[in-house]
């Protein structure tokens, strides 16, 4: 009996998580972004207000950063690692995300335009 309860407690979070995904119907839309000196590819992404999306971000060469205060994005991008950032923009507009790890002479031009419709 005690063992069964323990097992149930152990499995509960997994069941809840599964339920959440099932309730939502679909996984959030994923957008792949690559950082490399001195650009983000693509250089512009378009999101929808209220829509949850997953940004899948990697670095191709050195450590970069991705910083966009209005969407609370503040992450390091280490080569060989993948960062998954889930965002749900609450207001429309055009925002500029930047690399905030100094990465060389063209660092200041390394920007990602985020359009929220």
């Amino acid at each position: 009996m005690r063992y069964t309860r323990f097992l149930a407690l152990l499995l509960l979070p997994a069941l809840v998580m599964t339920a959440r995904v099932s309730d939502g119907g679909e996984e959030p839309r994923a957008i792949a972004i690559t950082a490399k000196r001195f650009e983000f590819v693509p250089s512009t992404i378009t999101l929808k207000k209220g829509e949850t999306v997953k940004l899948v971000v990697t670095s191709e060469d050195v450590t970069h950063g991705l910083f966009l205060r209005p969407l609370k994005i503040d992450t390091d991008l280490v080569p060989g690692e993948t960062q998954q950032i889930t965002v749900t923009p609450q207001s429309a507009g055009t925002f500029t995300a930047i690399c905030h790890h100094f990465c060389g002479a063209g660092h200041g031009n390394m920007k990602l335009t985020v359009v929220v419709e």
């Binding site: 500029t96 930047i98 905030h100 790890h101 100094f102 060389g104 002479a105 660092h107």
Partner: protein
């Protein structure tokens, strides 16, 4: 007997105006009258050392080694600034460089050469003391190793004629942060001073959110300013933004210096962050020291540059000068 140093006298001596410019006069009237000398003595009693009038200059963003269309003249603006300072009637005690002394290079040997060229030009300054902090172009690629080899520590403090100067490094970590270790050092450094001590912080990036999407911020700048918040005479001098800017928050006034290589546009103007194009007719426009009077032809004449009074603040509330005056009644 009424204490001769009343609030009005203090206001007259301390002044309240602080602007943007290059030649900072610290408490210029403190030595000029008996009331001023009494104020200085009171502050000395309280702070450990009495402030005495002196001046210093802030220079920034010389980017030695940069070459490109925004400034095809290389180090000329920097060299001109050195000449102007050497020609001033009142020789400053100190020149502070607030970062980006050099432009970065992928080749460490070339970058070291740029640091040596910076030192060669700066060594022509006829001032007793030169202090500097790194910018991200000096220290961002190697965590400050080359800078430390050439200039020493990237954060430190020193006292000069009653003013406590604090050099903060907000560029050597991979992110634009000061970092917990340096903030702990700062708190310890400040702890020996009373809240009335005049403090000048010099650093590269703004310690407040000026324009985060232009990378004009310091990630943990709030923590730095919280550590400084109890202190009532704080001036923060910084560079990085290549233009003049003054911002007051709490007890602190933040002042940005112009660059000596190229200027950035007004962040409020709705234009992209791109260097203002070079104008061959006015090659030093928007750069470095603001000369308001060129030297005349006569012997012994000297240029005049914009002057700023870096003053002691008018205190409000129950602390500060009012308290000092009460305590100093028996002076």
């Amino acid at each position: 007997m009424k204490d001769p140093v009343d609030r009005r006298t203090f206001m007259k001596i301390a002044g309240t105006s602080i602007g943007v410019g290059a030649l900072f006069h610290v408490a210029p009237l403190l030595g000029a009258s008996s009331g001023g000398r009494r104020i200085a003595a009171l502050l000395g009693k309280k702070n450990g050392e009495a402030p005495t009038p002196f001046s210093f200059v802030q220079l920034s963003d010389t980017h030695v080694g940069f070459s490109g269309p925004p400034n095809p003249l290389g180090t000329q603006a920097f060299e001109r600034a050195v000449d102007i300072i050497n020609g001033l009637r009142e020789r400053p005690d100190l020149v502070l460089f607030t970062g980006d002394l050099t432009h970065d290079s992928e080749n460490p040997g070339e970058h070291a050469d740029r640091m040596r060229l910076f030192q060669k030009i700066a060594s022509r300054l006829k001032v007793p003391l030169i202090k500097s902090v790194p910018g991200e172009h000096d220290a961002g690629l190697d965590g400050g190793k080359l800078f430390r080899d050439a200039f020493g520590e990237t954060h430190y403090s020193f006292d000069h004629r009653g003013v406590h100067f604090i050099a903060l490094d907000n560029v050597s970590l991979s992110r634009p942060n000061v970092g917990p270790e340096q903030i702990a050092w700062l708190k310890k450094d400040l702890a020996r001073f009373p809240t009335t001590a005049p403090i000048v912080v010099f650093t590269h990036r703004p310690l407040f959110d000026l324009r985060p999407d232009w990378e004009w911020f310091t990630g943990d700048g709030d923590e730095v300013m919280n550590a400084l918040a109890p202190y009532e005479n704080v001036t923060v001098l910084y560079g990085h933004i290549h233009r003049e800017h003054t911002h007051t928050e709490g007890h602190a006034t933040h002042i940005a210096a112009r660059s000596l290589i190229f200027a950035f546009p007004d962040p409020e103007a709705g234009v992209p962050k791109k260097p203002i194009p070079f104008d061959a007719q006015k090659p030093f426009q928007n750069l470095g020291l603001r000369v308001i009077e060129e030297p005349g032809a006569g012997a012994g004449s000297s240029p005049r540059i914009e002057e700023v009074e870096l003053t002691l603040r008018e205190y409000a509330g129950t602390v500060g000068i009012q308290q000092l005056l009460k305590e100093g009644a028996s002076l």
